[in-house]
C-alpha cells in the first residue's frame, strides 16, 4: 500500500484533550498494568520507495510492535520493510503556528523553474 495513513500524522495528542497519566515507556505501561504504549507504523511498499506512515497500534514492546504491524498493515504484501516508532518519540511542528513557521517560501516564486518564462520555446532547457 503506497499511501493512505490511518491515524494522526504526527502521533501527537489532539488539541482540546486532557493528557492523562500516560506511561512514557513500555516499562511504565507494565508498571501501570494497563495500557500498552502507542506506536506509529511506517511501511516501505517496495524497494526504491521511502517508508510511508500507515497508521498506529498498541504494543507492549518494540518487538511486538513490529510483529503486530506486520499482521495489521501488511496482510496483502503491502510492504517489504517496516518501521515502528514510539508515538511519544515524535516531535511535531505546532499546527497553530504553521502560518509563521512555513512562511519563508511564500512569495519566493523564483525558486520554481516555472518562474522563468522568457526562455519558453528554447529546447532542452
Amino acid at each position: 500500500m503506497v499511501s493512505g495513513s490511518t491515524t494522526g500524522d504526527d502521533g501527537s495528542k489532539p488539541a482540546g484533550t486532557q493528557t492523562s497519566a500516560e506511561p512514557e515507556t513500555a516499562a511504565g505501561a507494565a508498571a501501570l498494568g494497563s495500557a500498552w504504549p502507542l506506536w506509529e507504523v511506517f511501511v516501505r511498499s517496495s524497494r526504491g520507495l521511502s517508508h510511508v506512515h500507515a497508521g498506529s497500534l498498541h504494543a507492549p514492546d518494540a518487538q511486538m510492535a513490529v510483529r503486530n504491524a506486520r499482521d495489521l498493515y501488511t496482510r496483502r504484501n503491502e510492504g517489504v520493510s517496516l518501521w515502528v516508532v514510539p508515538a511519544s518519540a515524535i516531535v511535531a511542528s505546532d499546527p497553530d503556528a504553521k502560518g509563521q513557521f512555513f512562511e519563508s517560501p511564500q512569495g519566493k516564486d523564483y525558486r520554481h523553474a516555472t518562474y522563468y518564462t522568457k526562455s519558453e520555446g528554447v529546447k532542452h532547457l
Binding site: M1, G4, S5, T6, T7, G8, D9, D10, S12, K13, P14, A15, G16, T17, Q18, T19, S20, A21, E22, P23, E24, T25, A26, A27, G28, A29, A30, A31, G33, S34, A35, W36, L38, G55, S56, L57, H58, P60, D61, M64, D71, L72, R75, R76, A87, S88, V91, A92, D94, P95, D96, A97
Partner: protein
C-alpha cells in the same frame, strides 16, 4: 507523564477546560469545511464535531469487532480447506478494520481502553446487523454479498469524510472490503448452481439477510435527526435513503446473475425521482435490535466480554515481559 510534556511547549495539547474558543478558530474550521479540506487531529474543532466522530468511529470499530463472531461461527464447518482459509482471512480483516478505526478514534482523545470497556459493558452501540444468527453456510455468502455490499456503499463516501484519520482508515477498509463482497457472491453463485437443496439454502439466506442489510443504512431520512448535521460537517456525504436506494439498484441486477430473487415485490425504479424504491421495512424490529433485544445481542456481548477477560493474562504477561526487558536494558547501560 503525558506523551508530549517533554517536547517543546507549543506541542502540548490544549487542556479540555479551555472552553474559550481561540481567536478565529471557529472561522478557520468552517473555512476548511467550505474548501472541502480535512480536519486533522491537532486542529481546533467544535466539541460536538469531536463527540459525533468519536461516537461514529467507535461504533464502527465495535461493529467490525463484533462482526467477527457471526462468521467465525462457520470457520470449522466451511466446506473445504480453501473456504476455511478464505473465511479466516476475512475474519482477520474484520479485526484489522476494527483496529484501524479504534486508532482513528483515539486521535480524538478517547483512550482505547475506554472504548473497549464501553463495548463490553453494553454501553456502546454497534451495527444491528451482527445481532442476527448465521444459520447455514449460505449465510456466509449472503453476508459477504449483502451485508458487506451495503457496508461498501456506506463506506466509500466515508473515504472523503472531513476528519483526516477517519477518511484514511476508510480508504484502507474499502480496499479490503471488495474481496469480502466478491467471495460472498461466489459462495452464493456456487450454491445457486448446485443441487435443489443448495439452491434453496442460498435463497433462504438471501430472504433472511435482505431486509436487515437494507436497514444497515440507518433510519429513513425523515427519522434521522443527526444526518443533517453530519452532512453539514462533511462527515456524511449522502443521506441514508439515497445510499439505500443506490444499493437496491445494484443488488436488483446482481441477483439476476445468481438466478435467485430478492424477497421484495415492490422494487422499482422511480423515473420521476430517479431513484430505486423498495418495499416497507420493519423499523420497529430495527429499533428493538438496536436497543439490545435482537436475536443474538446477549450472546455477542457475552462472547466479547469472555474473550477480553480470557485474554487478560496474555496482556499482563506481555507487559511484564516488556518491563523486565526494559529494566535489564537499563542495568546494562548503567
Amino acid at each position: 507523564m503525558s506523551l508530549h510534556t517533554d517536547a517543546s511547549p507549543g506541542l502540548q495539547a490544549v487542556p479540555a477546560e479551555a472552553e474559550s474558543v481561540p481567536d478565529g478558530a471557529q472561522a478557520h474550521f468552517e473555512q476548511l469545511l467550505a474548501e472541502d479540506s480535512r480536519i486533522e487531529p491537532r486542529d481546533w474543532m467544535p466539541e460536538a464535531y469531536r463527540k459525533t466522530l468519536v461516537r461514529q468511529i467507535s461504533q464502527h470499530a465495535h461493529s467490525e469487532i463484533i462482526g467477527m463472531q457471526p462468521e467465525a461461527n462457520w470457520i470449522t464447518r466451511a466446506p473445504s480447506l480453501k473456504r476455511k482459509s478464505i473465511l479466516m482471512a476475512k475474519v482477520q480483516d474484520e479485526a484489522g478494520h476494527g483496529l484501524y478505526l479504534y486508532s482513528a478514534a483515539e486521535t480524538l482523545g478517547t483512550p482505547r481502553e475506554k472504548m473497549t470497556e464501553d463495548l463490553i459493558a453494553g454501553k456502546a452501540r454497534y451495527s444491528s446487523i451482527f445481532n442476527y444468527p448465521t444459520l447455514s453456510w449460505a449465510d456466509m455468502g449472503a453476508i459477504g454479498w449483502l451485508v458487506d455490499g451495503a457496508a461498501i456503499c456506506n463506506q466509500v463516501p466515508l473515504c472523503r469524510a472531513s476528519y483526516g484519520p477517519y477518511g484514511r482508515a476508510m480508504v484502507r477498509v474499502c480496499k479490503e472490503e471488495s474481496f469480502h463482497q466478491r467471495q460472498g457472491f461466489e459462495i452464493l453463485l456456487e450454491l445457486a448452481n448446485g443441487t435443489g437443496a443448495q439452491r434453496g439454502m442460498a435463497q433462504d439466506a438471501i430472504n433472511r439477510w435482505y431486509a436487515p442489510s437494507l436497514m444497515m443504512f440507518g433510519p429513513p431520512d425523515d427519522d434521522s435527526p443527526n444526518s443533517k448535521q453530519s452532512m453539514a460537517w462533511n462527515i456524511k456525504r449522502f443521506s441514508n435513503d439515497e445510499l439505500r436506494s443506490r444499493f437496491v439498484g445494484m443488488i436488483v441486477e446482481q441477483v439476476k446473475v445468481l438466478g435467485l430473487t430478492l424477497p421484495d415485490d415492490s422494487i422499482r425504479f422511480n423515473e420521476d425521482k430517479q431513484q430505486w424504491e423498495h418495499g416497507p421495512l420493519d423499523w420497529n424490529e430495527f429499533k428493538e435490535v438496536l436497543a439490545g433485544r435482537g436475536p443474538c445481542n446477549a450472546q455477542r456481548l457475552a462472547r466479547r466480554r469472555e474473550a477480553h477477560e480470557d485474554g487478560a493474562w496474555v496482556r499482563e504477561a506481555a507487559a511484564a515481559y516488556a518491563a523486565k526487558q526494559a529494566a535489564a536494558q537499563k542495568t546494562e547501560v548503567a
